[in-house]
């Protein structure tokens, strides 16, 4: 089976049982890999109502057929589970050595199930899979644990996944830190690892991935590298995602102070020019062979946060820990980013929780008695840092915030200031201004998500009119299917300008020997999106859940996307999808067309 390792590895933490299975041919044919494997296995094995923090929930780590090949932009992997933050599909992607390491060790998929009695970590070194005592790591931060585990492997090339105190303390938006500077950020995969007493996973592989046509794949890889160094992708290469900060703010698409406004007066102070002037050190790729290297290594060189080091902040972090908390100092944002990475907190949900708490403090819903004397005021970097610590340790108000903004707003009686969809905090593209972005937040399968359709990209670039509602249903549908395919292969979405559908079809054939047209491949993307929907439908999701928070729909503000606008876009989206307008359920004829058989 070219392009695949051909095996699935299962680790049951309840009894340290380790089992291997063959990759099912039907799974390969209908779901390709990555995103497809993740949702199919999750749908089949994690039934409705499964306790996200119980032993029956599973974490499914997936690679794709292009991962581990010579292609320099196929270095990602995904994780699937039922989310403890949202109660629906939990899904997150990251880059890192883990992707190639798992395949070189001989596995396409790793499924972790059960719950260990005591803290453990898993090591995979080719065929040698072990569950080891992690007692000495418990309580330590992600970077400390990673360093210790790397020490065990010596000079070998190792991919690591670690959780920090946030994951151990079951913070619902705890992330998994990957190879120190990358994360499985969203939907609380780190919290599930914590619930299983799983502190870390380390992977080392020395095998190879056999491909059907090595010479042709090498040619395509060289072509991709050459184009990646040209003008089509210069914006990623030179600026990274931080280049978007002022583009967003200038177009009223940069949420500020818990979405009180749509642009940030401090954008220049914490944007890409400030980054280059004050903290930038060098470009860093997700792995060493990526020619785009959109990651930016930043180190604070002076002031109270001197020495803080991250590959980042990315745009979303600059929003969540910056503008959304009213912080305009790039050095403070780098520090907050570092704290999140070490504690194991998703920077988006973490920053949004702090911003929410700041507005609660402003309204008198919480006070210094809840914060240990801390004044939670917008614009105060120290308040951000100390609140993140309280969240990770579940101290004082941090314990309420650790359940997620949706839950916290219910407890505090202020749902109107919670900016989330289906429990997932909204990313940093303002859905009051950008209409397609509003729709994508409402319908994305993991809750408010900017990555499944990436509707903000054509909107901010002026390729489509961001004020227009007409046509956004089909735009979001088509882009969801496209990027579901990207995540099934798995290739980096940022490579799209140089690696589009024709290149994906060529790469897939070169790697696997399977010839498929662009249309056939897009059908896989559509099938995957529909199965994600069916997973959520099984958990009770219907049209009324495809909604937006009041901060976006309230028409008593300068910019808004109200319910009537959303309803029109939803109708168009459901029509484009072949879903029932009244319920939001996939119609039987659509399921038959996509060859989906579900209970």
């Amino acid at each position: 089976m070219y392009g695949y390792a051909g095996r699935i590895l299962r680790v049951d933490l309840s009894d340290s049982g380790i089992r291997e299975g063959e990759l099912n041919e039907e799974l390969v044919e209908k779901y390709v890999g990555g995103n497809g494997f993740g949702i199919k296995i999750l749908y089949d094995e994690v039934g409705p109502g499964t306790d996200p923090l119980g032993p029956s929930n599973k974490i499914i780590f997936v690679t794709g057929p292009l991962c581990g090949t010579i292609l320099p932009i196929a270095v990602k992997f995904g994780a699937y589970a039922r989310s403890p933050l949202t109660g629906i599909l939990g899904e997150s992607f990251s880059s890192g050595i883990f992707s190639e390491g798992l395949k070189y060790a001989g596995y396409d998929v790793l499924i972790v199930e059960g719950r260990a009695k005591e803290p453990v970590y898993i090591t995979i070194s080719n065929d040698r899979v072990e569950v080891k005592d992690a007692g000495r790591f418990w309580g330590r931060n992600c970077w400390e644990v990673e360093d210790a585990i790397r020490g065990e492997f010596g000079a070998k090339r190792v991919g690591t996944l670690t959780i920090g105190p946030a994951g151990e303390n079951l913070v619902k938006f705890a992330c998994v830190t990957v190879d120190r500077y990358r994360q499985l950020g969203r939907t609380g995969i780190g919290c599930i690892m914590g619930s299983k007493n799983l502190k870390a996973i380390a992977v080392h592989g020395t095998g190879k991935v056999g491909v059907a046509n090595p010479a042709a794949l090498k040619g395509l890889a060289n072509e991709t590298i050459k184009r990646s160094l040209g003008p089509e992708i210069e914006h990623h290469r030179v600026y990274g995602t931080m280049g978007t900060v002022e583009i967003s703010s200038e177009q009223n698409a940069f949420p500020t102070r818990n979405w009180k406004s749509t642009s940030f007066e401090g954008a220049q102070e914490m944007g890409v020019e400030a980054m280059f002037e004050k903290t930038f050190v060098k470009d860093v790729g997700c792995v060493d062979r990526c020619p785009i290297a959109c990651g930016k290594l930043n180190v604070v060189k002076d002031g109270p946060y001197k020495g803080a080091t991250v590959v980042g902040p990315e745009y979303q972090t600059a929003y969540a820990l910056g503008s959304n908390c009213g912080v305009d100092d790039i050095r403070a944002i780098v520090k907050a980013n570092e704290v999140c990475d070490q504690l194991g907190i998703d920077t988006i949900s973490g920053g949004c929780a702090v911003a929410f708490a700041m507005e609660c403090f402003e309204r008198g819903l919480i006070g210094t008695r809840d914060t240990g004397g801390l004044g939670l005021r917008f614009g105060d970097p120290e308040a951000v840092l100390r609140t993140l610590e309280m969240v990770a340790r579940r101290e004082r108000v941090g314990d309420v915030l650790a359940e997620g903004v949706r839950s916290a707003s219910g407890k505090l009686g202020c749902e109107d200031i919670a900016v989330q969809v289906k429990g997932l905090d909204c990313p940093g593209y303002d859905a009051r201004t950008l209409k397609g972005t509003a729709l994508q937040y409402a319908v994305s399968s993991r809750g408010a998500c900017h990555l499944r359709a990436r509707a903000q990209v054509p909107e901010l670039r002026g390729v489509v009119d961001y004020t227009e509602i007409e046509g956004k249903g089909k735009l979001v549908k088509d882009r969801e299917d496209l990027f579901s395919l990207f995540d099934s292969m798995i290739v980096c979405k940022f490579a799209l300008p140089v690696f589009d559908l024709p290149e994906i079809a060529r790469a897939y054939e070169c790697a696997t020997g399977i010839r498929a047209s662009v249309e056939e491949l897009l059908l896989v993307g559509e099938r995957v999106t529909n199965l994600e929907r069916l997973f959520n439908v099984r958990e009770g999701i219907r049209r009324e859940d495809d909604n937006l928070p009041k901060k976006i729909t309230d028409s008593n503000q300068a910019r808004f996307t109200d319910q009537a606008q959303l309803d029109r876009m939803l109708d168009d989206y459901y029509d484009a999808r072949g879903w029932d307008r009244a319920t939001g359920l996939p119609r039987m004829d659509k399921m038959a067309e996509l060859d989906l058989e579900v209970d």
């Binding site: 003008p231 990623h236 600026y239 990274g240 995602t241 280049g243 009223n252 020019e273 901010l460 670039r461």
Partner: protein
Amino acid sequence: MAELRGKAQIETGKKQERIELGQDASIPRLLDVLEIRLNWPFREKFLDPVTGDLPKNVIILVNGLPVRGKIGSTLLKDGDRVVLFPHTACG
């Protein structure tokens, strides 16, 4: 008012320039004036020499709204605020 972002700001050392364009108040004319005044390749960066279009990998905002297509046809008026990004959105 022309405001510069990204490398245009970093490499020229200017955040903004007040420009008087006179009768030919087009964006290509603005690029010419900026290029001469600040000695930076504005025209090469923001104008496709063959099509006359704005290249896909840059953004120009006029009063907060993105300009697209044949930028020669976009005329500026007194008081307009033009923001030039020599890169585009991602992330």
